[in-house]
């Protein structure tokens, strides 16, 4: 997955980071782009090792707390056209709408439902938000041989009580995240297969594990591009309904 799918982790910072907030801000600065497009392949491995495969296209305009994204499923045929519009806000949780072509209407995803699994994957709707760095408190826990371990605590409503982030010192990329709720470890995310795309270090594979359910989802990115020409008008409810 593009790190836009775990965007509250993508936060900019001054060049030399010594404390946790500075580290995360530097991560965000290095990841910044005006827009993004990719085609993702999702493999959900559920109980009994059954694997379900789906594909979507993802477009984003703007970055971090003020970005807008549209995600549309393309495969399999039964789900083709189902879309999700995310409008992020720097000071609060995002607005999200799902488009369902079969009934010809959009559905608002309520804030209380953001912890719900995203269409049977191991992501939750909240995981798709971009949250501004100001919405978290950070604490540097240690230096583990080329990797910083940072604890982040959300200041506003979230299903997570805290998360641990592992940031690679070499290129300020996040390689692993563990998110907890009151009961314990809820999700673990690994970012792999990094490569530079238009100067931005990007993971080409993201694996997320829902620990209580013991299921995992792998997302691979194809045709990934940054800073392509996209219009604001393509990130509205009308655009979501149009399916363009």
């Amino acid at each position: 997955m593009s790190r836009k799918l775990i965007p509250w982790l993508l936060l900019a910072a001054p060049l030399v980071a010594q404390d946790a907030r500075q580290i995360i801000e530097e991560v965000q600065r290095r990841q910044r782009s005006e827009s993004q497009h990719y085609e993702g392949t999702l493999e959900v491995t559920g109980g009994g090792n059954r694997i379900a495969t789906k594909r979507w296209t993802f477009d984003r305009i703007g970055s971090f707390g003020s970005s807008k994204s549209i995600l549309r499923f393309t495969v399999p045929a039964e789900v083709k056209g189902v879309g999700l519009l995310i409008v992020n806000h720097p000071e609060r949780a995002s607005d999200q709408w799902m488009w369902r072509p079969a009934i010809g209407r959009e559905q608002r995803i309520a804030l209380q439902d953001r912890s719900t699994r995203f269409f049977g994957t191991d992501f939750s709707f909240e995981d798709l938000e971009e949250r501004d760095v100001a919405q978290f408190d950070f604490k540097l826990l240690g230096d583990e041989g080329g990797v910083w371990k940072v604890e982040s605590t959300p200041r506003k409503s979230s299903q997570y009580t805290r998360s641990f982030l592992w940031v690679k010192k070499e290129n300020y990329t996040i390689v692993k995240v563990e998110s907890y709720n009151k009961k314990g470890l809820l999700r673990a995310i690994d970012y792999r297969d990094f490569e530079q795309v238009k100067g931005i270090w990007t993971a080409r594979t993201t694996e997320i594990q829902d620990v209580p359910r013991n299921s995992r989802t792998t997302l691979k990115y194809d045709k990934l591009e940054y800073n392509i020409p996209l219009k604001d008008a393509d990130f509205t409810l009308d655009a979501l309904r149009r399916g363009t």
Binding site: R100, A110, R117, G120
Partner: protein
């Protein structure tokens, strides 16, 4: 115990038939009471259980009557800090090939925070959540429903929707238990937005279920929600839905309670009578025991023990019989309540209330004991010599008669006073009870008088047999009067309910002629009461263009809580209604009231609403609507039978404005002069029948439907009547059996001096028919009084409509031969027993 074994057991064996009759009386008395109540409770309990199971962890529900409310309300609820989770719900009962299924439309994203969906399969989730949401035809069914219909994942399920018959796909199966057990397992879950589409709900929800944030009490949460949403919304715990249905169906519950208590009363009377006769009849035996040294206490204990044994045995069997009866009736009651109230009912397992069963058992035993106490005490205290004298105790002394008459006069006077003060409900019901007591107290005297009056008639018919039969009645009023009283009560019940039914039909028919006068009715279901589906208003424009259609009225009927009761709001084009029906008001100015309502400046209320809710002409009625509280004056009071709890008629425009809902339940169509009804009906079906769930009913079909519904309503009453009459018949058999036993010597002498067996038979038959005749006379007379009270109860507490008094002459005329034939049939056995007995034994008797 020894006395029971040595005295009672041989007696019971020797008089097995009589004991069986006594037991049958107890069984029927207890059984009908248990059966009616258990069946009612089971249907209501199943409804409550469905609500509970569907509610899951829901703490509060937001509703706005049947029309539901706009989606935006959900966001308002979810925005409150006091609310932890809120999920919208739509419920619809839909027909499938194998019967009705309750469709629960939910938002699968958030609903799991309130309800537990325990799915089958290793994934422990619906087959593919994305496919489920992406495909509008997705359905989750229960294992019960799947097994019943042979379904598995990806099976196809045809269902009747607003868009016609559609096929849905099973994309998940729930394990039995919890939610999956609601509505007897005939439950399916669908995405709420798909449900809106298929059931024509627009962008509305039926309700919002919610759970409160930690630390917020129900009262705090409800208060906050009420403030945030305004007066048009109700915020109550899920259990209140069940209470609301009970309130809606209270007329039925009250009616069935009254009749079953009455049946119980008759049963108790029979039990008392049979015991009193049995004890009295054994006075000679008591005399022998006393002469042999038995103490009074022993005699008393013996008879009380006997009655206790009979009471326990009969009541136990009665409870079992009642349970069997309830099993047979609960399905019928569920179906009837669904049709009458338009709220789907599912009769699940029988709800056996230990208190009810224990109470019924105790009632049977106590009645039996009570029946034995007075005669046993009297028998124990009597002089042994007198006790050995035949027949003395069958006659009522003049003093006894006088005392009874005085008491009857006191009760009748009190009933008259109560009647004068009958504005007060307590006085009204007291008057009813007192009038019944007065008639029961008068029964022996009247029986005696009528027996005297009948003597010359019977003698004229058959000089010997007729005279003997009449004398037997005159000499044994104690034996006869109990049976006559039971018969009188049964027949009075038949007459009053028959009269109520007949009067209701007459009033209903008059209303149908005036108000239900369109030529065609276009509805969303075969039943007019079902409000699961609604039409879009746009369909009305299309229907108006159908050749042959002269005028069309759009009706929206929804149940809304007004003055703490769920009443029916009828939104209609009032000017058209005035023009076409010209319904005359019971109160109000016909020249102005329709115009006032048409302008949206008032409402018409039904007569029953006015009675039941105490509403008056000109008074301002507060009607909660999602846009706020409507305050409209009552412009007129009309007779309307649309709903038992009453109806409020308002202009369609005002309704649309207040509820933001322009959907339609029924299109009332008037045809152009000369237009062919069948042809127009076919044109409508051709134009819309394939794309729309739509039924076109003719005027006569609607009338038949209403009549059938009324028949169903009275159907259970007829069952109770049948049982009551059966109980009374048993009383006749018992009385005759005792009579013959009493007169064995007399009948033996008659045979010894040359009397023919046929003459004996005739004597017994005539006695039976005479009892039947006296019962009929008294029953029809008391029925006239009871009918008055039944109409009063109906008006005051059941349907609120002033139904005119009309004595059911036809019912009375039909009853007379039925009872006389039944009395004759009841006499055949005892008569044969009288002629087949040994003459020597008969002469040796006593």
């Amino acid at each position: 115990m020894m006395l029971l074994r040595l005295i009672s057991w041989p007696y019971a064996r020797k008089h097995l038939l009589r004991w069986l009759l006594t037991l049958t009386g107890i069984v029927l008395g207890v059984g009908v009471f248990v059966g009616m109540h258990t069946a009612n409770q089971s249907v209501l309990a199943a409804f409550h259980e469905t609500i509970d199971r569907i509610a899951g962890t829901t703490q509060l529900q937001v509703t706005a009557g049947e029309p539901g409310f706009d989606e935006v309300v959900l966001e308002k609820v979810q925005a409150l800090a006091e609310v932890r989770a809120a999920a919208p719900v739509i419920e619809a009962t839909v027909g499938t090939d194998t019967g009705n299924v309750l469709i629960l439309g939910v938002d699968m994203l958030g609903d799991r925070s309130l309800r537990t969906y325990d799915f089958e399969g290793t994934d422990a989730a619906i087959d593919d959540p994305l496919v489920f949401l992406a495909q509008a035809d997705s359905l989750i069914v229960t294992r019960t429903f799947a097994d019943k219909n042979g379904l598995k994942l990806n099976s196809r399920v045809p269902m009747k929707t607003m868009q016609g018959d559609l096929v849905f796909t099973v994309r998940g199966i729930m394990k039995p238990g919890g939610l999956a057990s609601a509505f007897g397992g005939d439950l399916a879950v669908m995405d709420i937005y798909a449900a809106q589409k298929f059931f024509g709900r627009g962008r509305k929800f039926d309700r919002v279920d919610l759970a409160l944030a930690d630390g917020v009490t129900l009262e705090q949460g409800a208060a906050k929600l009420r403030t945030a949403l305004g007066p048009g919304f109700e915020v109550e715990p899920p259990s209140s839905r069940g209470d609301q249905f009970e309130q809606t169906s209270r007329a039925y519950t009250l009616g069935s309670n009254i009749t079953s208590v009455f049946a119980l009363f008759i049963g108790m009377f029979i039990i008392y009578n049979t015991f009193a006769i049995a004890v009295t009849q054994r006075r000679a035996e008591i005399g022998i025991l006393r002469a042999l040294g038995a103490t009074r206490a022993q005699i008393r204990t013996l008879f009380l023990a006997e009655s206790a044994v009979a009471g326990i045995a009969g009541s136990s069997l009665g409870v079992l019989f009642g349970i069997a009866l309830a099993r047979g009736m609960s399905g019928y009651i569920g179906g009837m309540l669904s049709e009458v109230y338009g709220v789907a009912q599912h009769s699940g397992e029988l709800e056996l209330d230990p208190w009810l069963l224990g109470g019924a058992l105790a009632m049977g035993v106590v009645t039996s004991l009570f029946a034995a106490v007075i005669p046993a005490r009297a028998a124990a205290s009597v002089d042994p010599v007198k006790a050995l004298q035949k027949g003395r105790n069958q006659a009522l002394t003049e003093r006894e008669n006088r005392v009874r008459r005085w008491w009857a006069l006191v009760c009748a006077t009190a009933a008259g006073v109560a009647l004068l003060l009958s504005n007060n409900s307590v006085m009204f019901y007291a008057g009813f009870v007192l009038s019944v007591i007065a008639s029961v107290l008068l029964a022996p005297t009247l029986t005696l008088w009528l027996s005297h009056a009948l003597r010359p008639v019977l003698s004229a018919l058959r000089p010997v047999e007729g005279t003997l039969a009449a004398d037997s009645l005159i000499q044994g009023p104690r034996r006869t009067s109990g049976t006559v009283a039971a018969l009188m009560l049964s027949l009075a019940l038949v007459v009053s309910l028959g009269g109520l039914s007949r009067s209701s039909f007459a009033s209903l028919s008059e209303w149908m002629t005036t108000a239900l006068n369109p030529d065609l009715f276009v509805t969303t279901g075969e039943t007019l009461t079902s409000r699961t589906f609604v039409f879009p208003a746009l369909l009305g424009e299309g229907l108006r263009k159908i050749p042959g259609v002269a005028e069309l009225q759009m009706v929206r009927s929804v149940r809304v809580t007004v003055r703490n009761a769920p009443v029916m709001i009828l939104a209609i084009d009032v000017e058209s209604l005035e023009k076409r029906t010209g319904m005359r008001p019971l109160e109000g100015d016909v020249r102005t009231m329709y115009k006032q309502v048409a302008r949206g400046e008032g409402v018409l209320i039904s007569e029953n609403f006015a009675h039941l809710r105490g509403a008056k002409l000109g008074e301002v009625l507060e009607i909660p609507a999602p846009t706020g509280m409507l305050r409209l004056p009552v412009a007129g009071i009309v007779r309307d039978y649309s709903d038992q709890q009453g109806s409020v008629l308002m202009s369609r425009e005002r309704f649309i404005q207040a509820w933001n809902d322009d959907s339609v339940n029924i299109f009332r169509i008037y045809l152009q002069p000369g237009a062919d009804e069948a042809a127009v009906r076919q044109r409508i079906l051709d134009a819309y029948g394939k794309t729309q769930r739509l039924f076109v009913l003719t005027n006569s079909e609607v009338r038949q439907y209403v009549t059938r519904l009324t028949d169903q309503w009275f159907g259970l009453t007829y069952i109770q009547i049948a049982v009551a009459v059966l109980v009374a018949m048993l009383g006749i058999v018992n009385a005759l059996t005792v009579s013959i036993t009493d007169r064995r010597r007399e009948l033996g002498v008659l045979q010894a001096v040359g009397g023919l067996r046929q003459q004996i038979r005739h004597t017994v038959w005539m006695e039976a028919v005479a009892i039947g005749f006296i019962g009929i006379v008294l029953g029809l007379a008391l029925g006239a009084v009871e009918l008055y009270y039944a109409l009063g109860i109906a008006r005051r507490d059941m349907i609120g409509i002033d139904i005119g008094y009309s004595y059911p002459v036809g019912v009375a005329a039909a009853l007379a031969p039925v009872i006389l034939i039944a009395a004759f049939l009841a006499a055949i056995g005892p008569a044969e027993s009288a002629v087949r007995g040994s003459l020597v034994e008969a002469l040796e008797y006593e």
